[in-house]
Symmetry: C2
Subunit: 645 residues, 2 copies
Amino acid sequence: MKRQNRVVIDRISPQLNCGEFFIKRVIGQKVDVSSDVLVDGHDLIGVSLLYKHEKDKKWSEVRMNAQMNDAWTASFQVEKQGFYYYKVQGWVDHGLNWQHGILRKLDDNQYVRSEFLEGAQILKSLLKDVSKDHKDYVQNIIAVFEDEKRYPEAVVFARENKLWQVFYSHPEKHLANESNELAVYVDRKKALFSTWYEFFPRSASPEPGKHGTFKDCERLLPRIAGMGFDTLYFPPIHPIGEVNRKGKNNTTTAYEGDVGSCWGIGSQYGGHKDIHPELGSVEDFKHLIQKAKDHGLEVAMDYALQAAPDHPWVKSHPEWFKWRPDGTVQYAENPPKKYQDILPVYFESAGYEELWDACLEILFYWIDCGIRIFRVDNPHTKPYYFWQWIITEVKKKEPDVIFLAEAFTRPKVMQQLAKQGYTQSYTYFTWRDSKHELVQYMEELTKTEQAEYMRPNFWPNTPDINPYHLQFANESKFIQRYVLAATLSSSIGIYGPNYELMQSEPLPGREEYLNSEKFQIKAYDWGKENYLINVITRINLIRRAQEALQQTNNIRFCNVNNDNLIAFYKFNDSRTDELLVIISLDTHNSQQGMVQLPLGELNMGNYSRIRVKDLVTTYEYDWYSEWNYVQLHPNLPFHIFKLIK
Amino acid sequence: MKRQNRVVIDRISPQLNCGEFFIKRVIGQKVDVSSDVLVDGHDLIGVSLLYKHEKDKKWSEVRMNAQMNDAWTASFQVEKQGFYYYKVQGWVDHGLNWQHGILRKLDDNQYVRSEFLEGAQILKSLLKDVSKDHKDYVQNIIAVFEDEKRYPEAVVFARENKLWQVFYSHPEKHLANESNELAVYVDRKKALFSTWYEFFPRSASPEPGKHGTFKDCERLLPRIAGMGFDTLYFPPIHPIGEVNRKGKNNTTTAYEGDVGSCWGIGSQYGGHKDIHPELGSVEDFKHLIQKAKDHGLEVAMDYALQAAPDHPWVKSHPEWFKWRPDGTVQYAENPPKKYQDILPVYFESAGYEELWDACLEILFYWIDCGIRIFRVDNPHTKPYYFWQWIITEVKKKEPDVIFLAEAFTRPKVMQQLAKQGYTQSYTYFTWRDSKHELVQYMEELTKTEQAEYMRPNFWPNTPDINPYHLQFANESKFIQRYVLAATLSSSIGIYGPNYELMQSEPLPGREEYLNSEKFQIKAYDWGKENYLINVITRINLIRRAQEALQQTNNIRFCNVNNDNLIAFYKFNDSRTDELLVIISLDTHNSQQGMVQLPLGELNMGNYSRIRVKDLVTTYEYDWYSEWNYVQLHPNLPFHIFKLIK
C-alpha cells in the first residue's frame, strides 16, 4: 500500500503491549505521554496529543513539545471515571517551515521575493480557519507579501512572532499521520489511596466465645474509624459449609461447635448471595454498611469463587463442577494435599457461559446492597480472561467498583492479573524486610512498566500470613512495618486487632497464626489502648493530610551512610507537598547517619536552607547542607519530614 | 467476549512493536524465541513454538522449554529466503497433569483407584492420535487402569517414563491459546556478511587526468578481489547534470572540463536508467558486472533519488517536482544554504503513485542488468513509508536484493529506516574512536532491540567523511581502524584507494577530503603496494575463514587492565569458532596489559589450559589462567586469537 504520509510515529509511552491492555489512573491524575515522531528531511513538524473520555464525541488536542532525540511530550489530566483514549498525531508544518526558512535567508541577506509569494499562498489556505481577530492581520500580510513594492514591510512582517503564532495555532494538517488509540482507565481516588482494616465479624462479640454479629461490628466502628482507617474488609460472610468442615488449626476433623473456615462457602443456608445466619440478616448487613459509611468507612467484601460440598450450586448446577469417573465430585487438591472442604469451580465446563453470568450476578447482588469494593480471594486459580471479562462488565455499570487481587504467587502471575484489569494488588511487601529488598521492590513497582498497571496494596500481615519478622516481635517492629507500608505505598492494610494488639504467636515453624481465626472464633480485648495504636492513628492522620502519601509512584530513594536507615523523598504531582521519610530498620538500637537531600529534585531556587518539620513530633529543624544528620530511636523509629522552603 | 482459554501468552521476544515490523535473519541463522506463558492454578501446561516459511502451508512445531519465572524458550532455524512467521501456542496438559498428580499421591501412599479411571479416560481420548508403535501399549494400559484387580500393575505403569512420553508427544490441545503471528525476514548470507570496496569509476584510468571507463574498472578487479573484498560499490554512474554543475571542491561555478558531482543525476544524456556516456555503455556495464562476478565481486549501485535541473523527468513529469509561485522549480536547500545543482523529488506531489512506480521501475531496470545490491543515498530525505513500500515490492520478486541505507543522521531516524526494511545501515562507527565510545556503541547495536532489525555496516571512511582521526594519520591508525571495523562488524567497507594508500589530506578544518573525487577526477597509483594493503588482505582472509567474524551480535567485551586495549570474544552460533580479539588503541606506543578470558562463556569442561593462536602471525600460546598478559606494538596493533581447547 502506498502511504503518502511523511510523518512516522513510534515508541509511544505509556502503553502496554501496543494497546492490548489499558494503563490506570485515578481522577485528577496526569498522563504524561511521550512519543518519537519523525519526518524525512529537515522539515519542521507539528505534533499533537489527542485524547477523549469514552463518552466524549470530540477529541481534545494538546500540542506536544520537542525534546532531545526526536521525542515529543505532552500531558493530559483525567477528570472523569471510565476510559479515556489517547493517540499521537503528527504532520509537516509548512507554515512554520516557511517562516523558519525565510528568516535564515533574510539573515543571510538573500532576496526572497519568491518566498513571500509562497508565504502568501500558505496564508491564504489558512484564512478560512483563522479567528476573526487574526483575519484582518492575515489579510493585510497577504497583501503586503504579494506587493513587490512593499518588500521592506514584508521583511518586517515575516519576522513577527505574531505570524509564528498564526502558523502555530492554525496548522494545515495535510497528510497528518496518527498512531493507534491507546486507553487509560480512570478510577475514583480510592483505587489509589486506601487504608484497610480487616477483621473477622465472628470475633466481634464483646462476650468471649460468643459468635459475633453485624450488630457487634457496628459497635467497633468508632474504634476503627478513630484509628484513621477508611476501608473495612470482612472475610467471607456467607453460610459456611458443614460437609467436611475443617476443625481448629486447619485440622480435617471438625468437632461440635467448630465454626469452620469462612472460605468454605455454601451450605443448607445458601451460597454466595446469602449471609451466614449467625452473623445476622442481609438487612443487618446493609445497616452495617450504612453505619460504616457514616464513620467514613467503606465496607469491602470477600469474593471467593469456590464452594463447600454442600453449596447449593452443587445440586442446582452440577455442570459447574468436575465429576470424576467414580461419580464423586472433584474437591480441591495440590497433590498429595487434599482440601475436601472445598470444591473448585470448573471453568473448563461446557456450561461456562452461564457460570460466568452467575458469578457476575453475585457481584451485582452485593453492589445492590451497597458494596463497591471486592477483595478477590485467590484470583490466580481462576482464568485470567474470566477476570478481564467480569471486571469489565462490572465497571461498565459501576465504575466505582474496586477489585483487590489477593494473589500471593509468582511475579508474572501477579502482574498479569493486574494487566487484565485488577484495580489493586497484594504484593511481596509482607516479606520484604531489608533495605536492599525494599528499595529493589519499590523500584520494580514504581520505575518499570508495572507503575502503569499495578497498584500495590501493602499489608504487613494478613490472616494467612504471620511473617517471621513479626512473630513475637517488639513494639518497635510493629511500628516500623506499619510506617514502611504507610509511607512507601498509598494503599495499605492490616489484619486486626492482632496487629495493633501485637498478637503474633505462630503455628510453630510456620508463617501462620496459632489458633487462627480462619478456623475458630477468637476473643479480643477490643477496648484495649496502647502506644502502637496511637502511632498508627497518627500515621493515618498524616496520610490523610499529605497528598505526597496518597500516591505510590512519586518516590526517590535518598542516600544514607548507614544501611540501618532507609530514606526517601515523596511528592505529589504538583510538588506542593514534599516529604522526606527516614525509617530505622533497627528495632533494638538507636541508629544515626547522614541523609543526602535529593537537591536535583528539589526546586531550591535561591534558598540555601531548607526547613524540615517532623509531622509526628511537630519539631522543626533548619538544614543548610546537602547531607544532614539524623538519629532514630526504637521508640519512634521514623521521621516523616515535611519540606518547607 | 467470554474467552474460555486458560493459558495466557505475553512478552514474546523477539518482536518489534507487537509485530508491526519484522525482525531480520540470514539463511542458516536461528531465531531464539522466549515468551511468558501462564495458566491459572497449578496445572501443568504445554507450550509450542509454531513457525513456517511464507510458502509453507503447514506450521512446523517445536516444543518450548520452561525456564525461570514463567518464561518458555525454543528456537528455530531459517533455511529459505523470504518471510517466516512464528507464534506461540499454549495449552493445559491434562495428561501430564494427571501423571504428575498421581505420582505424588502414590508417593503419599494414597489409594488412587478413581485416578486410574481418569487416566484411562485421558488415554482413550489420545488413542486416535498415537502412532502404531504406541497403540498397543496404550490400549494395554487402559485395560490395566480399568481393572481394579490389576491395581498393582497399574501402579507400575503409572510411574513409567514411557507413559510420560506418550502424554508429552500427544498433547490434547483443548482450549489452546495462540499469540499473534510475528514475522522474520530472511536474507541471503551477504546481507549479514559483506566486505565493501568503493571507488569512483571515473578515476579508474591508468592515465592521469583521463576520464575512467568501465573497461578501466575491469582492469582493477584482480587488485580489489585480491585484497579480499567481495562487494564493489560505485557512486552513481548516470549522466551528470550540466545545469548549475558544481566545480572542484564543491564550488558553485564549474569551469570548462569540470566533471561535476555524480550525485547530480540527469542531463541531455538521460536519467536514472542511463549511463554517463564517458563511462561506457550499458553493455560495458553488464560486462563489468559479469567480470566482477568472475572475481567473486558483486557490484553494488548507488540509488540516489534526486535530479539535476536538466534531468529528463523535469520536462516529462513536472508534477514530480515542486514549482514555486514565480514559476521556477524548487531546488534543494537547507536555509540559508542552497544546492542549485540538485532538485529534490517532490513526494507530496498529487502524482506520487506514478512517481513511486517510476522509482521502482529504475530498480528493476538495474536488477535486470544483474545488480542485486543498492546503496541508497540519503534515504532519510525521502519518506519512510516509501522505503517500506519499495523494498517490499522489490523483495517480493527478488529476495536477493540488499539495500544499504546511507543515513548519517540522528539515531532514531537511522533506526526507523532499518525498521522499515533496510537490509544494512551505515553507522556512527566512523566517529567512534575511544574505547568507551566503541564499547557503548557496540552494546547498543548488539544488546538492545536494534540487534533484531539493524545490521550495521562499519566504514572507517567514505567519500563524504574523512574523519579527523584519519587526517594525516600514521599507518598504524589505518590498520587499527580497519581491524576494529573488520572484527567488530561483519559488514564493513572502505572508500579506496584513498584508504589503503593513506591519502587523507582534508579540506582544512573539515572532515572532508581535499580535492574530493565527488567533484573531480583523481589520478591514483593503482599499482602501488604497501604494508597496509597486506594487513587488510590478511584480515579479509581471516574474515572469510572465521564464522565468528561473519556475524555481529555474538560479542562479549572482556576486561583488560589497560584502557588503551580493547578486547572482545566473538563466536559463531554453534561455538565451533571462538575468537578473542585484542586491539591497541594507541598507534604510537607499545601497550601491554592483562586480559580476562570470559570463562563463564567458554565451555571449558575439564580443561585447565587454553591454546590461543594468532591468526595473523600463526604463533600459538598456552594460557593457564583467567587473566593473561598481552603486548601490542603499533606495527601490528592487534591479535585475532583463535581459541583452541
